[in-house]
Symmetry: D2
Subunit: 261 residues, 4 copies
Amino acid sequence: MVENNKYWALILGGSSGLGLASAKKLAQDGFNICIVHRNSRAEMNEISAEFEKIKSSNISFLNLNLDALNVESKSKIISELKDKLENTKIKVLVHSIAKGNLKSMVSEDNSVLSSDDFLITFQAMAVSLYDWTQLLFENKLFAEDSRIIAFTSEGSTKPWKNYAAVSAAKAGLEAISRSIALEFAPFGIKCNCIQAGVTDTRSLQMIPGSEDLIKNSIERNPNKRLTMSEDVANVVSLLCKNEAKWMTGNVIPVDGGEHLQ
Amino acid sequence: MVENNKYWALILGGSSGLGLASAKKLAQDGFNICIVHRNSRAEMNEISAEFEKIKSSNISFLNLNLDALNVESKSKIISELKDKLENTKIKVLVHSIAKGNLKSMVSEDNSVLSSDDFLITFQAMAVSLYDWTQLLFENKLFAEDSRIIAFTSEGSTKPWKNYAAVSAAKAGLEAISRSIALEFAPFGIKCNCIQAGVTDTRSLQMIPGSEDLIKNSIERNPNKRLTMSEDVANVVSLLCKNEAKWMTGNVIPVDGGEHLQ
Amino acid sequence: MVENNKYWALILGGSSGLGLASAKKLAQDGFNICIVHRNSRAEMNEISAEFEKIKSSNISFLNLNLDALNVESKSKIISELKDKLENTKIKVLVHSIAKGNLKSMVSEDNSVLSSDDFLITFQAMAVSLYDWTQLLFENKLFAEDSRIIAFTSEGSTKPWKNYAAVSAAKAGLEAISRSIALEFAPFGIKCNCIQAGVTDTRSLQMIPGSEDLIKNSIERNPNKRLTMSEDVANVVSLLCKNEAKWMTGNVIPVDGGEHLQ
Amino acid sequence: MVENNKYWALILGGSSGLGLASAKKLAQDGFNICIVHRNSRAEMNEISAEFEKIKSSNISFLNLNLDALNVESKSKIISELKDKLENTKIKVLVHSIAKGNLKSMVSEDNSVLSSDDFLITFQAMAVSLYDWTQLLFENKLFAEDSRIIAFTSEGSTKPWKNYAAVSAAKAGLEAISRSIALEFAPFGIKCNCIQAGVTDTRSLQMIPGSEDLIKNSIERNPNKRLTMSEDVANVVSLLCKNEAKWMTGNVIPVDGGEHLQ
């Protein structure tokens, strides 16, 4: 994949889950990788080992432990990118920022969703896709034919208890990705969402009561297993191929058919 | 429609367009009407005449010229409602708050959409539906079988230039209405969105370049005219009937078939 | 509802389930009722009692025990209708023809779906909607403002084991109803599908293994019960009101929110 | 792509348009190619030249000028395939059978759609996908991990004048592909539909009045050109990669964003 070596993939939220798996796969495809992530020193031990694997693909690598949602950090990230990229460009932007508030709308015992919960989740999971697209665009960092990929879930059209803020944010994210596909088309930018099935990640396991969701998802999946981060990363890779250049504005399920039932 | 006279319909944004038409129709159906609106003294002349028409239906009427999005105003509105309602309840909440920022994502000449444009639009057009539902719920103002109706448009799934912030907000609004339908079902609350066609209102006429949109919409509509506010108010009325009580969580086009093409 | 008494509702498949419930409700709304059904003498005892209830609404009533899918029977039905209607017209056509083949695509033990199973089901459940629309149209039996209503289910977009032929037919039915909405719009015809939830009917109870489906549907329904035929008939009634005349080409869930999860 | 050389791709309707382009691309990917087509001797001159290009990819090639919808021909095709494949398997089935009746539902001058038009179109464009899946399955010709790809269009959800029969068939095709995805999942079969944009093919140019459709499609496409067969073939290729194995039961637009507006 020598032809990719002048291009970069920027992964927002790339130190775990779908983002990390995408980074690994795109490195194997020959892309230089920049990961923006937010982790404590304690977490970095394990993550560094993962980053070493990425570097072993013999590509240029940059990780920035900075908040992708903060104005000052964003300037810093852009500045670091400009230094590092020199004359190369960003061909791939992967948005894997998950920061949602899980609360019920009605509860006798616990606090319920506030207006702010909706706004914070919407900003982090949806508007940030536009912010970053705009930031790279204004700074002329996009390649001539570039691909933006964001992650959504069935929750954008199916309400689940406790997920109202995430549901609204994901619905907004899909709408924003369609607007980006439309308005940035003249500049060679393609933008798609991948609707991942219930994915076997650490964050899933940490949700209270996730055992039931996991069991139920396996049962309902025609292929009888959870989605793995690698399944999704595989399709990220496909969407970055030359052959995918006529696909834009789509929401593409990658779930082994889980959404069918 | 004597049976409705112990129930109120609360219309957020009821001094023009879909909100006003809904208020008129629901008054004819026998509901007492409370309209929350935000208008200057100059505008009130014309609006007062409309309010007089509503009162002529021989129902109780209350209009509150207050900002439905402001925390203090909201307290004031709730307090006024409690005074006025006495032992009666709110059976219908109509959300007709339109406050969106129309800007492009890309422009050489004009300012483009900011992160804040998205957030302000989302809060006004989407989150406020939840806020008001929560407010009436906490204050025990909902009737046992109540109906929440919000207005969306094809723009939630179809991007249009300059409409990205509204598109994301409408997509979020639909998601929130589904979550309300799910989580408030145990309390007898039904929540639906009406997807109105391009509607012949003053605000439409004031959009720069709306002539083309109007001409195009008439042509594409199988019934060869624009949607009128009364068409939509008619379906608001139907959704408040006893016969509609098994409908919830839906997005219902009311557009003479405009969405078909 | 005196204003309806010069109009007829023609119910195809009106001796049980959604069709019968619709006939009852529309009779209460003042429509004259013609039911086309196919029943044995043994079944007619019970059904006649139901028909008597309809007649008690003091409307004109006609039942024709003839096959709505057979060419000769169709001529006979049209001829009988012309005699009976005199100068009145058909304002409502309700399509409630259910005749599907339930087989798996893959089975070690039983016969699997054949090409013919798909065709027979498609003709009975989908194409017949067009055939009857065309038949009434050619014979100038439709009123100036008329409503066509057909019944679909989530199965049109969600595959279920054993339901592939019905799923394809329902998807086709929805497409046909959209084409009717578009092409017959100039003649005042509105056409909508109601997507009923899992409905508590005798035919449901007769499906092998339906206990699980029933239990599961109750659990998943935010309103914690099955859909009843009357819930659906209620919305048929609403769609025949003057207020619904701007709704066409839609698929409208009537399921207490069951489709949400 | 040496790893593909033990696998075959069977293309139904592979002598022109999307089918032929897919065959060419899959041959470049290293698949052996079998094309089933139906052409006159006069047409074969030009087509043979295309087939020679495919053979130049240095793969095994078989073309069968036989009717893929006829029972006897189908037996003959299966028999020829078995001879040719020996111990190799079919990994890819591409369904590109287009045979639809284009007529209006209402016309003063011309004949309108008949019941048979719907049935013939449904059988050719939709049920044949199931028939061929079943035929290859029963004859144990599918590889362990195989991909079925069918072509649909926006017409499945958007009615167009004269396209009612095709619209119903495409909606049925999508439903059948979902059922195949579900029921054949245990046997390693993945099934997806590609929703191609308005594609620049000879058959498009032959439709009366297609100039307007072409002009309109270019204008509405964010990428300002028609879809080309190669755009679609590119995504067929991606869906046959190992990386796509977790995608099934989807309808995937490949249209440069045309469906967005």
